[in-house]
Symmetry: C2
Subunit: 207 residues, 2 copies
Amino acid sequence: MKTRDRIVQESLTLFNQHGERPITTNHIAAHLGISPGNLYYHFRNKEEIIHQIFRNYQEYMREHLRIPETRVLEPQDLARYLDASFAAMWQYRFLFYDLPGLLSRNQPLQDDYHAFVKHELAPLLAQAFGQFAAIGFLNMAPADIMPLATNAWIIVKFWFPFRQTIRPDTPISEETSKLGVRQVLALLKPYVQPDFAEVFAGIEAQY
Amino acid sequence: MKTRDRIVQESLTLFNQHGERPITTNHIAAHLGISPGNLYYHFRNKEEIIHQIFRNYQEYMREHLRIPETRVLEPQDLARYLDASFAAMWQYRFLFYDLPGLLSRNQPLQDDYHAFVKHELAPLLAQAFGQFAAIGFLNMAPADIMPLATNAWIIVKFWFPFRQTIRPDTPISEETSKLGVRQVLALLKPYVQPDFAEVFAGIEAQY
């Protein structure tokens, strides 16, 4: 692996383990067994590393949450989307522990995150929930779609910091994702049309 | 006002404005026009000030979210609870911007927060939602109560950091609370019994 990629990967591991705040570029260099000068050749500072980690998160989301072009969504896509979203939240969890702080200290990251939310994530949510309504899976008035999608978004985005803070004695793990999926399914359950009740119960049974 | 109380109040203002991270005890002392030595007479370090701010938040919550002993809850109590909760989230918003970080750096705060969640907040949520089910306001199976209450909790707790990060160009304000209340009402709407539809619409119209 290239040094640049190793810096990004190991920084992500350290940030997830300890939080981003106490980890300096010197810690990262020492952890990799490279000189600080070598690290600075690739990244001018810690904020640039964080920005690259964000770009990797963004790539992951783009790849896994793309709306298919040649078919409409099916109920099973809901499970796939939830799996992918919680996997991303787990893999990049430090990003969402203090996102207001990270963005306020890093204007280019804030600009990129904002553009991602505005032009990709929010439209994607509207489209996915719109298709789930269109196929008769979820029964929602058009005016209900964005409030519901937004509630799902908040639960996914903050699930790990929520669990971490209410149960500090039970360390979060990838398994915590399943509980998060169940919370989102609980949110959607009242909207499931009777025709799809069995399919939905099948999805619930996966978690 | 006593110096100790002024330190707590002005620290809260500074933390809410700038985040807690860049504010040092020297900033706080300078802002109050007192010497660092005077500040250290009252608080050994910044973490102790944060802990006192948490205790004030806790007092506020206890006072405003107490379940009445002499009557059952009515639908209008839902609006009152949401108003009080969002008011607390606004007034103490910095606490919830990086709560995992604050707790991980401050074991006494973590212990207090955990005890508060376990012995007060979670039981309160269960009781309030249980009473809303018992009076026929919200139609929930017993097994649905905690997942629903937890979703409401997550939305309230993370509403301000959510809005702040998805719309960095629209600064959050007290008005943002109203949008948050609407998100929680959207969450609860499918559970409202027909007999209470009009009362619920009246609550919605308040926001």
